[in-house]
Amino acid sequence: MRTDLEHVGKRYGDTRALADVTISLSEEDQVVVLIGPSGGGKSTLLRLLGGLETADEGALSRNGIEFPRTEPELREFRRQNGFLFQAFNLFPHLSALENIVLPLVEVHHWERNAAHARAEEVVERFGMKAHLSKRPAEMSGGQQQRIALARAMAHSPATLLLDEPTSALDPEMKAEVLDLIEDLCRSGQRIVLSTHEMGFARQCADTVVFLSGGRVEECGPAKDVFDHPCSETVRQFLSKVMKW
């Protein structure tokens, strides 16, 4: 699957969240990691890639076909992806199991029994089987995020889009969730994720996109970006965040 962005721009009122973003992601770019300073445009780019919002300028295409622009088409498009946000993802009135089953049944038209079986399978893999009947408030942040990840990938999405999946977690929970994501990367799942975890980015990314001020400062294989950054901005950012 190819994804091409040409001169993509996005504004929120007077803020230019993205400007002139041109990147090409090929079949080989299975794990794409977005890094960069806060406010750089990572979340915005993820929302565009996931069909949660549409670009104001430029064109996005997948396998040569333009991204949809009308709400019903966008909804169909979103259903092919899985999305995970920083926090507060799950529906608090539903158990972990129901959180996973509901979209399978209502959005993807699975049989209830099949959906249950699938939910249990995914959750088992994530080591969360004991918590299936709990509501989100009864789980730790790390457990909630693992259930949210299970929900995002239960329908085998073409692409998983993860927006800072571990930022709201303490170090131990962070590691738990990153381990899972690493597993998913290994298993061949296409993933685009934004993160401030440079170690993780370096280890798992096929391609790293560095966004700053809404522009792509650098884009390339993880090794190149981390070891030989071309841009001065990237170099400064990396030396700052790698210091600790």
Binding site: F85, N89, E138
Partner: protein, 245 residues
């Protein structure tokens, strides 16, 4: 320490005042035989109140939900109209609304059922309050829930059905139950168009016998029997829909 002493004091005051009122009420010299002939009337009035309140309750939920939908529709004209309606109803006395509804509006369309008009006016009145309660409940659901639902691929209707309304219900219940109790008590104002409801029957019994307390005291019990189950039901539903945020 001070806090518990204070709450102890408050409880004591409440208990003392309650006993005092009870004693005053009970120790009055009653002549129940004076209103015995009106027992059947009072009962039929109570049944009328029960029936008209139930009908108005159901109708007011429907109208209230429509008003909320109109307000949240995102269409400027409809949300403005709903706002005007709600403010108009909430800002004016029910008594005049009943009079206008029956003598002007119903008369103009040739509808002559006092009970029917009473139910409709009461529903329209209560719906304005319910609409605000519903809207506040729905708007209290955080934006992140909408975003999650969108990301999953839910349509707007599915988002309301599976995410927003189930969460809003619990927040809406206490206020809505209060409004339902108000509706039942407000139905006594329908005497102005001579609906033969509970309070109306008590007024007549009083007018004919001058046994004021004997005529009006049954209202306490009668209305309480109607409002208390709503309170209980609301508590029960709150427990059922309970979850930690």
């Amino acid at each position: 320490m001070w806090k518990s002493a204070f709450s102890y004091f408050i409880s004591l005051c409440l208990l003392a005042s309650f006993c005092f009122v009870l004693w005053v009420v009970v120790s009055h010299d009653y002549h129940w035989e004076a209103i015995t002939p009106y027992r059947a009337n009072l009962l039929s009035g109570w049944l009328t109140t029960l029936w008209l309140s139930t009908a108005a309750l159901v109708l007011s939920i429907i109208i209230g939900a429509l008003l909320t939908a109109g307000q949240l529709s995102g269409q400027r004209a409809s949300s403005l109209l709903c706002r005007i309606y709600i403010e108009g109803i909430r800002g004016t006395p029910l008594l005049t609304q009943i009079l206008i509804g029956y003598y002007l509006v119903a008369n103009a369309v040739g509808w002559d059922s006092r009970l029917g008009v009473g139910i409709v006016v009461l529903s329209c009145f209560s719906a304005a309050y319910l609409a605000e309660i519903f809207r506040a409940g729905i708007e209290s659901i955080p934006q992140s829930q909408w975003l999650s639902a969108r990301a999953i691929g839910f349509s707007e209707a599915q988002t309301y059905r599976f995410v927003v309304i189930p969460q809003a219900v619990r927040r809406i219940l206490p206020a809505a139950a209060g409004q339902f109790a108000n509706l039942i008590k407000d139905s006594s104002l329908l005497f102005v168009i001579s609906v033969q409801e509970f309070t109306m029957q008590a007024r007549e019994a009083n007018a004919n016998t001058y046994a004021t307390f004997e005529a009006y005291l049954p209202l306490i019990l009668g209305y309480f029997i109607l409002t208390f189950p709503i309170s209980l039901l609301s508590r029960h539903l709150e427990d059922r829909f309970h979850y930690e945020d």
